[in-house]
Amino acid sequence: MERRDFLRNTLLGTAGLTGLTVLGGLGAAAAPAKKGPLKLTILHTNDMHSRIEPFPDNGGQWAGLGGMARRAALIKEVRAQEANVLLLDSGDIFQGTPYFNFFGGELEYKLMTQMGYDASTLGNHDFDNGVEGLQRQLPHAGFPFLVANYDFAQSALAGKFQPYKVFDKAGIRVGVFGLGIELNGLVLDRNFTGITCLDPVAKAREMVTRLRGPEKCDFVICHSHLGYQYKTAKIDDRKLAAEITGIDLILGGHTHTFLEKPEAVAGPGGHQTLINQVGWSGINLGRLDFEFAPGGKRGGLAQASVLPVGVG
């Protein structure tokens, strides 16, 4: 006690450079505790289907909606207001307008790169020009594609994709992994030569263990192209959320589902997973805000304890 008081006094008493630097560093590191919660804003899209321009004015139900230049403006508006933004997509970037037929997805990737997408996953239509068609466009994408349940080892795409990525947003560790739909029956065999689809549930469990454990993530996001829900036994986002503990947020796709607000699904052990999906064709941009405050255990998978550093 005496020793601690002495140290504090010494630090505060040393009104010199060293003391200020230490306190400054301390302030930055401990900011969340002292200045209120940290905020993370997640923006997301799914199934944009090459909708570069808004639907034509005679385009029926969605006439005049969407458009990537407008989306870019909206994203810039949010970035101007929020310090910590994560911009994610859940696949099926390709296919749906002549832009894809003419340019093979090049413009889609270039625009997403310009908008500052942090990551996407792969949808079934992203294989519409085959493994080679996808490979040809990858140089235009300045962001990673994350997919944990496709094995590319025997394909021409070996080594091109990662299962997950951890983003550090002002000290918050956000783990993002991707899940793709079973391609058999959806994609021509010759268009996914050498790719093996693995069980998404087992892979999700593996990802959560990894991200909550050694990767020490505070928040785990799955961008999924599995689909929101099916009446059959086919795996979907809701079943995934109910089966797996530890995913905080599933950003879905494939079923083109318009959710007005995210749905909360309780997993085993009561951990809540939010699911969101925002239709298709870039008609909507999803926005979810989270506040982060210290507290709690890291999903039961954290290190046994946080060891205080005994100095002296």
Partner: protein
């Protein structure tokens, strides 16, 4: 030393707990009056010009919209019929059936001018028109699958019974007997022929190539109507009768 202690703890800090603070609108519409981002618009412009130069070509006119809907529509009959005709012309043999699902067509034709762009909206996929020679058992499975969604098959008529099963199937006007020892030529996309849209029963059958993209076949049919001085029309003819 206190500083060191605090910093070290921050490195091995306890996890943060996340609380959702959702905005009133979590799905922000991308619509007017949002402006175009200038940088994105500049990136799009040269691509746009190349696309529109080709897409605005008018191929024909439809007095009424050809609307996409579940079950039988003028649109699905139009596409199924042209698949049969084009495949028969390319291969130089009769083709009994034309198969397309409603899901495989991504949009209908609006009323008025049909442009190459309209055809692309409807059939964006790079699917080739192919022909399979199907035995009676595969044809039976086809009608069983299509009866569930009351989807028509070009070249045939059938009824759907109260329990969703096909009945009174007629191909080219003749009653269909699955046990008859013959093959039926079916014109369809290579996507469906490869088992797409869960039509697994087609998968084992060898595909005969036409070398014609389905989209090209559709565009050519619209051009052919125009050349013959006809507008593009298609009707619901009762190819599927619900009992």
């Amino acid at each position: 030393m206190l500083g060191l202690l605090a910093l070290a703890t921050a490195c091995q800090r306890a996890p943060y707990r996340a609380t959702a603070r959702l905005a009133p609108v979590t799905a922000r519409p991308v619509a007017r009056p949002l402006p175009d981002d200038p940088a994105a618009a500049a990136l799009i412009a040269p691509y746009h010009d190349k696309v529109t130069a080709q897409m605005t070509e008018v191929l024909g006119t439809a007095p009424a919209a050809l609307v996409k809907n579940p079950g039988e529509s003028g649109l699905i009959n139009f596409v199924g019929d042209l698949q049969r005709e084009r495949a028969a012309a390319v291969l130089g043999q009769p083709v009994a059936l034309g198969v397309i699902t409603n899901g495989a067509m991504r949009a209908g034709f609006p009323a008025g001018a049909i442009t190459l762009g309209s055809v692309f909206e409807m059939m964006p996929f790079e699917n080739e028109l192919v022909v399979v020679e199907a035995p009676g058992e595969v044809v039976r499975q086809l009608f069983t699958a299509f009866a569930r969604s009351k989807t028509p098959v070009a070249g045939a008529t059938y009824a759907v019974s109260f329990d969703g099963m096909p009945a009174d199937i007629r191909i080219g006007g003749q009653p269909f007997d699955p046990n008859q020892d013959r093959l039926y030529a079916i014109a369809l996309s290579d996507y469906l022929a490869s088992g797409g849209d869960y039509l697994d029963f087609f998968k084992p059958l060898p595909q005969r190539h036409t070398g014609v993209l389905l989209r090209t076949a559709i565009a050519d049919q619209v051009r052919a109507f125009t050349k013959a001085g006809k507008p593009v029309t298609a009707t619901v003819e009762g190819r599927v009768r619900v009992q």
